[in-house]
């Protein structure tokens, strides 16, 4: 079986190497490019003014074919250690050759650009050049060979199984990307020069698919891309945590959209109507901020908690399944939401008229503006930058936030011997000290690029980071969390151990709902929907995205954070996808759905990856061999 997989992977690799673009020397806006392949360059752009000298690329083909052949022969060596050594050797050789090829390619591009500039060109003719599918395939194949080498040694399979928390999501992600590639292949056509044959067409198609994913992951390459991704990731962290929290307690909370909506309504009530109420008008600014900002944030959590607790209670009291009830609550929340902000006047039975003060006058369905005192500042503000009258962002990079964070982490790590509660308090106190100390230090004066400053990443991200920490602390460091997980894993055993399942169900749903509700802080208090208001365009769908985030993150705090960030990157890249290739951003939604489907199926991996008991056996058995 292993040999079959090896042969199959090698064949796919060689095929990809042969037909796919190895690199792209020039990429125009809109996706057309100059493709570098093993058998020559294909100019789909048509107006390239310079070409890199990549005649050497063909020679390396010999090396890769030889590598695949050696890999095939190595599978028949009788001794495991010899096999492993050989695989390690050729794997490392592959990595080294890949690095050499990459260096040569970039060097050739730079040389061509310099030559063009010396010849009088105003701008470097080759731009947005990059490696492409063929190059990616070679490095992935080399890494694959290294992994095969490790698998030959005793304990190899146990190692794989031990890393199942990473392998299952990674494989699912990869499969989803392949499926996404097929969809792009089917839905999007390419134009090739008339003299181009079947091979050119194939290469152009593969280039399109590769470019699609390059665009999707593109935000990782720029600072503003990272900022934008974090901005989009912020609500996903909340909803991902909400779903993960439910999963840990054996509950499936599909109600995050509704909980978010109710959280948003509650925070609107406090942040707009309570904070703007006339009897608080005399409060000094600082005091108002200290009161209303935390209060508004708590209101969001409380609204979500309420909307989560109801299905929890229905399940505990009547045995009504939480999945259907949370779905119903989503629709009900959407109705309440529209009811509140679509109109201020309703007539019942033709007689009674209800007047409400929530909708801002005008055509659009939106609330009044959140009071200054209840707004969450932007991250750039938190880092000490301000916008002057001319619109440029200047200031000094403040040490307060980084120092506070560093102090907190250091105090937490050093306090390992303290009791947990004291440890947390100490860390928090040291963090506050660090914040103030950092405030007094002279900052680094600098000017922000307008691109970076235009990203409205706000303080809700900090709240999200704290929510991740809270989830980690509560689930794995407290008795309540332990009991919750016990209920999730083995409800009968937990009940026998004295845990009230009914109470835990309500509690878990309430906290899960509160986490989802907190996402509203980003949208309403942090101005996540362009204005500091509650608007009809509130994207409640992030509640469903939370399912994919939680599953991809395997319900772990760091996993949820990273997968939220990943989806943030993909969604940010999706904008470029729409702009450049005319492929709808919904592709990312489809990828999310497929990831959920494939993770549910355990990544189509053998059962010992997904079944806890079989996994434990696989780990044990392999240890016996050593």
């Amino acid at each position: 079986m292993n040999r079959v997989w090896l042969a199959l992977t090698s064949a796919v690799f060689l095929l990809l190497l042969a037909v796919s673009p190895w690199a792209v020397a020039l990429r125009a806006f809109g996706g057309k490019g100059v493709l570098v392949t093993l058998w020559g360059t294909v100019d789909l752009y048509g107006r390239a003014k310079a070409m890199p000298d990549v005649s050497w690329l063909g020679y390396f083909t010999v090396f890769w074919v030889a590598l695949a052949l050696v890999a095939a022969v190595a599978a028949f060596l009788p001794e495991a250690r010899a096999r492993a050594r050989l695989y390690y050797a050729i794997g490392l050789a592959g990595v080294a050759v890949f690095a050499l090829e990459a260096y040569l390619f970039y060097h050739a591009v730079w040389a061509a650009n310099e030559a063009a500039l010396a010849a009088g060109a105003r701008r470097p003719p080759l731009k947005r050049y990059s490696l492409s599918l063929g190059a990616y395939a070679s490095i992935l194949y080399s890494l694959f060979l290294l992994a095969v080498g490790r698998l030959q040694l005793p304990g190899g399979r146990a190692l794989l199984v031990r890393w199942r928390g990473v392998i299952v999501p990674a494989v699912s992600m990869l499969l989803a990307m392949v499926a996404g590639a097929v969809v792009v292949w089917l839905l999007k056509d390419v134009k090739i020069p008339e003299e181009g044959g079947m091979l050119t067409y194939l290469t152009a198609k593969l280039d399109l698919v590769t470019y699609t994913f390059q665009l999707l992951f593109g935000p990782l390459l720029t600072a503003s891309g990272w900022f934008q991704s974090l901005l989009i990731a912020t609500p996903l962290i909340f909803t991902g945590l909400a779903v993960a929290f439910g999963f840990q307690a054996g509950l499936f909370n599909i109600g995050a959209p509704g909980q978010l909506t109710i959280g948003a309504i509650m925070t609107m009530l406090v942040g707009v109507h309570l904070a703007n109420a006339h009897w608080f008008a005399d409060l000094p600014d600082g005091l108002a901020r200290a009161v209303f900002l935390p209060l508004s944030i708590l209101a969001a959590a409380a609204g979500g908690a309420l909307w989560g607790a109801i299905p929890g209670w229905l399940k505990a009291r009547f045995g009504a399944h939480e999945v259907i009830n949370t779905i119903m609550m989503n629709y009900i929340a959407a109705s309440i939401f529209l009811f509140m902000i679509a109109s201020n006047e309703y007539t019942f039975f033709g007689r009674w008229t209800l007047h409400m003060p929530f909708k801002f006058p005008g055509y659009e369905a939106r609330s009044y503006e959140v009071a200054e005192s209840a707004r969450i500042p932007l991250m750039v503000n938190l880092f000490g930058f301000h916008q002057d009258a001319s619109g440029t962002w200047t200031g000094a990079l403040s040490w307060a936030l980084p120092l506070a964070l560093a102090a907190m982490v250091i105090a937490y790590v050093l306090g390992a011997r303290l009791e947990l509660g004291k440890r947390l308090l100490t860390a928090l106190a040291v963090g506050v000290l660090g914040y103030f100390a950092g405030g007094f230090l002279p900052g680094i004066p600098m000017e922000l690029s307008s691109k970076l400053a235009s990203v409205r990443l706000n303080g809700a991200f900090v709240i999200a980071a704290f929510a991740v920490a809270f989830y980690n602390y509560y689930m794995w460091r407290t008795r309540d969390g332990y009991e919750l997980r016990a209920v999730g894993m083995a409800p009968k055993a937990a009940e026998y151990g004295g845990v009230s399942i009914a109470r835990k169900t309500i509690l878990a749903m309430a906290i899960s709902g509160a986490l989802a509700g907190l996402a509203a802080t980003h949208y309403v208090l942090g101005g996540g929907i362009d204005e500091y208001r509650l608007k009809q365009s509130l994207p409640t769908n992030v509640g469903f995205d939370g399912i994919a985030v939680a599953l991809l993150g395997q319900n772990t705090p760091i996993g949820v954070f990273l997968s939220a960030l990943l989806f943030g990157v993909l969604l940010t890249g999706g904008l470029q996808l729409d702009l450049q290739l005319g492929i709808s951003r919904e592709l990312v939604m489809m990828l999310q759905a497929l990831i959920v489907l494939f993770i549910a199926a355990g990544g189509f991996l053998p059962r010992y990856f997904t079944d806890p008991i079989l996994a434990a056996q696989a780990e044990e058995g392999a240890q016996g061999v050593i």
Binding site: Y331, I547, Q592
Partner: protein
């Protein structure tokens, strides 16, 4: 418009008609879901299956009629909507097959698998619409929608006719007995020589077929195009009706009629000043929750529901 205006023929007759129409989608979907759930596979993917069915029917009918319309802009070709319905059923079966493979063969959590299909149904239609029509929200309006017989689409009659049929199949045929035994006690069924996996596959695919049919009814029976999210939670309500109806065809008929009536009431009262439309739209969902909490107490689901079968 006051309360008295409700009790007139001008209000009641359309109310009855709308009730029957909105019941049809729910009834078809719920009857399909019954096969799946009776065999022990939770099918929360009904919502997504409706959407895929609706998309397939609308797009295929529009593409089929396009060449004829190019010649004669008013061309009525009788077979086009029926082929579209057939295709919708095939696509529904395919989606059901995916759900079956993931949750039966790969023993996935059936609710997560179903949710994945629902998420897919939220994203993929936009891509398909963008490919065919250059927009992401609706398909092109078509001419050749399903005909109406005596004021109702044939699928309305079909849905109600299916109630006794499913009852007969489920409770009077050997296949129905096997299906139920697989959902109640798969180990015992397996011992008796019943192929648990095959029975469940058939049941889930059948539920996909019926949900696809319901989707086709929405897009080319009620409307004449596919609109994004056009099923608007009806798959979930059908699932609730299934539970409320105690997984029995007659009970399902009663439950879907109730929900259909609530929806029809919402539509009929929509324009007036009896109730704000946003409030009325929430009614079916509130009723569903009340029903699930209060009246279902004695409803007993198939015993093996939600559990993957380990041979």
């Amino acid at each position: 418009m006051g309360l008295e205006s409700i009790l007139t023929a001008a209000f009641l007759v359309p109310l009855l008609q709308t009730t029957l129409r909105s019941t049809t989608t729910l009834l078809l979907t719920a009857l399909g879901g019954m096969f799946s759930e009776r065999s022990g596979v939770v099918n929360i993917a009904l919502e997504g299956m409706i959407i895929f069915g609706a998309l397939t029917a609308a797009v295929s009918a529009q593409l089929l009629e396009a060449p004829y319309l190019a010649e004669n802009p008013g061309a009525r070709i009788w077979w086009i909507p029926w082929v579209a319905v057939l295709l919708a059923m095939v696509v529904g079966a395919f989606i059901g097959w995916i759900h079956a493979v993931v949750s039966i063969k790969y023993k996935a959590d059936q609710i997560i698998s179903g949710t994945a299909i629902n998420l897919l149904a939220a994203g993929l239609p936009s891509l398909v619409l963008a490919y065919f029509y250059d927009n992401t929200t609706a398909s092109k309006e078509l001419v050749n929608r399903l005909p109406e017989w005596l004021g109702f689409s044939p699928l309305v009659y079909l849905a109600f006719a299916l109630v006794p049929v499913t009852w007969y199949v489920m409770f009077k045929t050997p296949w129905g007995l096997r299906l139920r035994s697989v959902g109640e006690h798969p180990e015992a069924a397996d011992t008796m020589g019943i192929n648990v996996f095959r029975t469940r596959y058939t049941a889930v695919i059948l539920s996909g077929v019926l949900a696809g049919l319901a989707g086709a009814f929405l897009s080319i029976g009620v409307l004449n195009q596919f609109v994004r999210n056009m099923s608007a939670g009806q798959g979930f309500i059908a699932l609730a009706a299934l539970i409320f109806g105690k997984w029995h065809p007659i009970g399902v008929l009663g439950a879907t009629l109730l929900f259909g009536f609530a929806k029809a009431l919402a539509i009929q009262l929509g324009g007036g000043d009896i109730m704000p439309p946003t409030v009325i739209e929430a009614f079916p969902f509130i009723i569903t929750m009340l029903v699930l909490a209060g009246f279902v107490g004695t409803s007993r689901p198939p015993k093996a529901i939600g559990k993957p079968y380990e041979k």
